[in-house]
Amino acid sequence: MPTVIVDGHEVEIGADERLNCIEAARRAGKEIPHYCWHPGLSVVASCRMCLIETGQRDSATGKVSMVPKLVPGCQTPVRDGTVIVTESEAVKESRARVEEALLIDHPIDCPICDKAGECLLQDYHFDHGQAERRADIHAFTSRKRDVGPTISLFVDRCIMCTRCVRFTREVSGTGELMVTSRGAKEEIDVFPGFPLDNKLAGNVVDLCPVGALGDKDFLYQQRVWFLKREANVCGGCSAGCSIHTEHNQDTVYRLKPRENPHVNTWWICDEGRYGWHHLHDSSRILAAGRRPTGHSHGNAEPFQPVEWADVVTGLRADLEQAGRLTVAVSPMLTVEEAWMLCGVARSIDPEAFLALGHVPIRGGDESFPGGFTIRGEKCPNRKGVEEVLAVFGAGGRTWNDLLAHVAAGHADAAWITAGYPAAWTDAATAESFAGLPCLVVQDLFNSPLTAHATWQLPAAGFAERAGTWINVAHHAQSFRQAIRPPAGVWPEGRLYWNMLGRRGLYDPVAVRRQLAESSPAFAPLGGDMPETGVDLRVRQLA
């Protein structure tokens, strides 16, 4: 195996790995500071923060010959015997010089800067800079201009790493951003009339190492040191991008991409990034209710609130009494929830008709030059629900099959799980459930179905759930609950857990393990799930 020597410590790297000095040093636990380098973008080696000393150890004699000058770590590949020195006096001096240079034109307006607290310029200055300011140049002010509908540019905070420019050229392929002027007067800008407006635009804010690019959706909403982050999965489409849900006091403030080489690499789309606002929409259904007459006719009749303990028993009683049950299992549910729901349904009616819930489709898949794809299927877990249905012998049944089943008069009761962030059904479709003795609707918002519902149950949003989703590429990712749902809302899993008569708190991990044991299709989910997930098609090979 090739060996790299980082500050005197030997580190082995893979035989066919192509690493630069920053990546190799990271293996040895040494962080080489850098601004312009990003693993997902081309190398420009322009910020000069990653300057280090390198050399080569002769494999025969063991003699080390050093390169006589500093080299950028980002641009220098390592091979067997490469020597990296990250802490010499020359390196430290060079880092201090770069920090000093970057701060000459920087306004140092950290108190009013949104990036403060997660700013590389701050962090590196603390680690590598010097306390004294020698340049007696009055810094600029916080000039700001919009570069797009979602992004503001704070011009003077920019350190010209050009990550954002490269992103729009290499990943989104839209090329809106550019560098104008020359020398210290350089600025990032857009061409007049061509704003930064593409479906991946928000990523430039994540890429910005300083506070130059601000996301208007998040700007001035929250200081970043108040935020807590939970590793989550985006529910916006069937790509299932890994994200961090950043929240405080059960309020989501922003979503950030979480690096996952198997799914989304470093990026997420804007639709997913801003797709959390429905969680805090005031029109959400916040309590379980039942129309006391038991009839679903006459939509003027209000729902009477029902305590959750009574839902657990009353719902089962109503459905048992109604007779032939049909259940729509929403692709917004986790695998665990879907499995428990099917179990509940079959315990009520062993012949219950199970089908995949409505799958929202909007347009086709959309791919970008950098390899990122936004899926047209706007739900995160169709694959997972289909697999669960197959376990119950209902594989391949769709929402249309369910509608046909109801229209043919084979159902006396229907339990529709939904949980979609946007309107998903119309009055004509809802009408087909009008004659049913018992209709249960479990959803985030009122829909045309509400008029015909006997039971109305609130659903949980994506950040309020825990469990496992399986994306369009069969990649399963487990995640924990980021925030608690609003008061009065039980996540679906908690209701099903209780309806199955299980004791204690709902434990999605236990359910997942049980599912993995009982069904070979889910066997790969048995152990501890890595943060980046597992491929469901990888059956246990060993």
Partner: protein, 451 residues
Amino acid sequence: MTEFKPVLLEAVGVPNGYTLASYRSRGGYAALEKILREKRPAEVVELVKSSGLRGRGGAGFSTGLKWTFLPKDHPGPIYLCVNADESEPGTFNNRILMEDDPHQVLEGTIISAFATRATTAYIYLRYEYPQSWHRLQAAIDECYAAGLLGNNIQGSGFSLDIYLHRGAAAYICGEETGLIESLEGKRAWPRIKPPFPAIEGVFKKPTVVNNIETLACVAQIARRGVEWFQSIGVPPNPDNPRDPGSYGPKLYCLSGHVEKPGCYEAPLGITLRELIDHHGGGVWKGRKAKAAIPGGISMGLFTEAEFDTPLDFAGPGKVGCLGLGTAAVVVIDDQTSIVDFLHNSCRFFAHESCGQCTPCREGTSWSLRMLERIRAGKGRLRDLDILLEIGNTMGMMPGSTICGLADGAAWPIKNAINKFRGEFEDFIKRTNPEGWMVTDPVPALQIVGAH
């Protein structure tokens, strides 16, 4: 010293010397036609390599050696870029060549393209040279009409197209990879090397970048032979095995405070004093010289006492300058403030820094602002140390930048302060009697106002 007869500048003063007919009457294109008939490309490379020709653009790298870096048996295309973005302050030899003898340049270009197997050549021309533009384009048109360019030149099977590309007036486009980026239609930010242009240049294909004067020398070597070329100039220093020598004629651009500024052709190795006294008619107005730029502003400064240094590729380095550069000598008389000189130099580089690498972008602008303050009578002695520190840490040589622009910006700073420190100190003490000695850190920043 025997009188030297100009070769490269042969056409200067000849009526209509820039036409094809005039160039042919001086023996032009005969060498090209002979090469096309009789030689193989490798032989031409060997010819130029053996002549010891070193690039005239500034770095002085062996031209023949550069050509051999091209990948062998490359399926093509291979490109030849001609660097005519002559923008080093004080330099105008390429302009003279392009205006007065464009066919000499084109013959050199065609021979070089033949040697490097390039089938397309781009001449990247400085925007501020309209006369060169017209003359070169007319000469290219003449060559096409005469069958010296285009498909199957003279029945040799060799084809070449030359495109004349006008830049947009940026100093950085004279850096070879900046030139390539600009030629591709991008912002002229120099590329990180490796890969060098010989491996991956214009449009990701192997590329040779040569200076106009280098190509004129190639034409003359082809016409007059290696022995003629090596009879001129300075042979290698036997004590330095890495010195390839400085052969051939060189165009020296003499300007500044001399009686007769102009472009003079002389053998490499002429001393600065000879150049000023023999060609330039001495320092103007009977004054004495204080200093001189040896080869474009980025090479640094000679003091008057160093004027006997030979202007060959090795000479300026012996007195602490960066190198011969473009051999553009700018003489500064004893009535000129070296503070003003350095301010002007810093202003140029702060304006022309492309802004890619942090040390150069901020270093050039910081040094300019410091010099503006010094000139405004608020200098401190400590500023000189900071200026020197910027000069010592900025550039390709310490490793802190991608291209050599920062070295060029650093050298005048280092030379001026090291060689004329007394004058700087006197100026600062005289103009800032209250504060020259202050070394305190600058007070805290002004509080930033709200948006």
